[in-house]
């Protein structure tokens, strides 16, 4: 495909620079200065508080819950949304498909069907507290990209153990670079008219996050005001393992 331009461009580029052997390039890359913060310094508590604060700054609704309370929390979110038709990724845990609603599970939904959905429920890969960002890697539990784009209302289930403080920590969590990723920091916005930030141009205007405290039963108990004995008596690891998430690897 237009090999002559390819050749001439690469020739010009190569003659403009010193051509180093791959080993030298890798060496040079490894030696690049990286004195920025690679690791956060906050306690887990503070980090999660920050994540919640940043999400709320973006007008996302955040509700904290525990693994035991999760289904109830999901139901509450869906019922108060005023919506009935929800899209769901194929790999979403089936318990999360609360009965009594019109679920469109994506086993090859058409664009028109997704457009007709009023909301969507997904898991996530990671949350980055510093910027209130939710990272989706579009695994089966997170869904195809279009699924979190067309519906106007997005409920995201984010586990506390998935939340990190800084962006570099997210990158170090990726076992390998994802083929697909979407980083969401608040609902879509524009500031193109007189720099007035307007929420929701395209993409979901309403973002709801359920932050599931799955990290320590005691911590969950303290936050929720539940006595530790009863908390411990429930499911020990907190959540069903989600297909396609790091749990499985």
């Amino acid at each position: 495909m237009n090999t002559s331009s390819r050749q001439s461009i690469l020739e010009r580029v190569r003659s403009a620079t010193e051509t180093a052997a791959p080993a030298r390039i890798a060496e040079a890359y490894a030696a690049l200065p990286r004195d920025y913060l690679r690791q956060g310094a906050m306690t887990r508590e503070a980090c999660l508080d920050l994540m919640i604060e940043r999400l709320r700054e973006y007008d996302a609704e955040v509700v904290e819950t525990s693994p035991e309370q999760l289904l109830a929390a999901i139901r509450a979110q869906l019922e108060t949304s005023g919506k009935r038709i929800f899209a769901a990724p194929e790999g979403l845990p089936s318990e999360w498909l609360i009965p009594g609603l019109d679920w469109k599970v994506d086993r090859g939904l058409t664009t028109a069907e997704i457009e007709a959905a009023e909301g969507v429920v997904t898991a996530a890969f990671c949350g980055i507290a510093d910027s209130g960002t939710i990272a989706l890697h579009h695994s089966p539990a997170e869904g195809r990209r279009v699924l979190t784009l067309l519906p106007d209302w997005h409920l995201c289930i984010l586990r506390a153990s998935q939340v990190v403080e800084t962006l570099p920590e997210y990158f170090s969590r990726c076992p390998k670079p994802p083929a697909l990723a979407t980083y969401i920091s608040g609902p879509s916005a524009t500031a193109d008219i007189e720099m007035t930030r307007i929420k929701g141009v395209h993409g979901p205007r309403f973002l709801h996050v359920l932050l599931v405290h799955d990290e320590s039963i005691f911590k969950v108990a303290i936050r929720q005001g539940v006595d530790s004995k009863s908390a411990r008596s429930t499911v020990s690891d907190g959540l069903p393992a989600l297909p396609g998430t790091p749990d499985e690897l």
């Binding site: 495909m1 237009n2 331009s5 001439s8 461009i9 690469l10 010009r12 580029v13 003659s15 403009a16 620079t17 010193e18 051509t19 180093a20 390039i25 040079a28 890359y29 690049l32 200065p33 990286r34 004195d35 920025y36 913060l37 664009t111 028109a112 980055i128 510093d130 910027s131 209130g132 960002t133 195809r144 990209r145 279009v146 784009l149 962006l167 990158f171 990726c174 670079p177 994802p178 083929a179 697909l180 990723a181 979407t182 980083y183 969401i184 920091s185 609902p187 879509s188 916005a189 524009t190 500031a191 193109d192 008219i193 007189e194 720099m195 307007i198 929701g200 141009v201 395209h202 993409g203």
Partner: protein, 486 residues
Amino acid sequence: MSSVVPDRVVLDPRFAPPFPQAALPVLRNPQLRKNVAHAIDVIQGKRGKLVAEKTDWQALRTAASAIRSHALENLGAYLEQFEERCTAAGGIVHWAADAGEARSIILDLVRHENANEVIKIKTMTSAEIQLNPFLEANGVNVFETDLAEIILQLGEEEPSHIVVPALHVNRSQVREIFARRMGLKNLSDDPKELTNAARTYLRQKFLTIPTAIGGANSLIAETGSVAVVESEGNGRMCLTLPRTLITLAGIEKVIPRFQDLEVILQLLARSATGERMNPYTSLWTGVMPGDGPQEFHVVLLDNGRSSILAKPKQRQTLKCIRCAACMNACPVYRQTGGHAYGSVYPGPIGAILTPQLMNMEHAQSLPFASSLCGACYEVCPVKINIPEVLLELRSQVVNQERRQAGRIFDPLYLGLRIANFLFAGAGRFHAAQGLGRIGARLFTRKDGWIHSLPSVGAKWTQTRDLRGLPPQNFHEWWAARRKEAK
């Protein structure tokens, strides 16, 4: 008032008037200056707070500068790696030596789809190659999907900023454009309502037009992935809904690894819009079966970049990540806005990039469109020493102009050459000072000041007085004092 700027704005460096001339109508447009200053103040205010809270800001800049420099130093290898990985993932990579070739490649791809309309994500690179008029002329309807780009497209306007292209337009002007072109008679000028009008206008286009054209913020060599940073969601629409996606990107957009985004993404939104992170960042690799476009093309554009790469003092220009922090900080841009630069790349980066992309054959006034205050360098997330490049380009322009026949009579050239002669020896310098003092008396008024000068001097006295030359200058005073002491 239906028009935002009274004169027709030309953003083609080949035809645009020189900067001092192009700035005049803008300087006389208080509404435009107010719109620009307001937008800049908002961004700068937000940026300032976020930079202050980011304790490793300088370390991030150092890393970003090093990563970008390293990528440019090894551009050939990284470009080939990108091509290989992208192709392995199902993408098709094309190479365009110049704007004309890029336009042809893209038109061919669109025609191959039998498409007569495309949806587009904002990309300055496509404006650089003047893609839209070319496609339109060849029977393809182009629908811009960024709110600012819609405003500009419907209002038949030109962009004035690389991140907030319609920053020179205020809400009532937007209302007027939308009401007229979308046929919405009862539209108010409330930004929320205006944005809603755009959302409705575009929804069907997103859902039905199967061919999209966009750009790239970064091309990742390690994986063959592309990253696009946006706010509105129109990018995500164009990147996932159509059947065919065409991405146009300058060859300098390559970064070595996925991990390098951890540096760039922390700097980009804070610099561009004063946010910790922009609402949506999309990353994709080639073609993903069942998710998004099933045909994906990347058009890699040279268009003068390899020439810039070859020049050691100028190569740093290519580190640019198109954040616009420089123009937000620039006191010149603050007064003139973007149109005066006559290029789709305005402000400090435009002042160095535009003439270089034109191989120094056009836009020669741009390197001089700066007071060299250094604010741009201070804020540049990748540490491009813009003043250094400006100075280098100035000397290239002067070397070009010197060779022109009539130049010897140019008052500024004449004056500087005479000054150089005088500075070469104390005797001549002192003699000239004496003569100058006598000559200045002709222009010095009773109040001891000069109110009006001829020739180049008139440019000073247009708006400023100049104090008359003192009867005894410093070295004379020193000599006299020494004599007295003996």
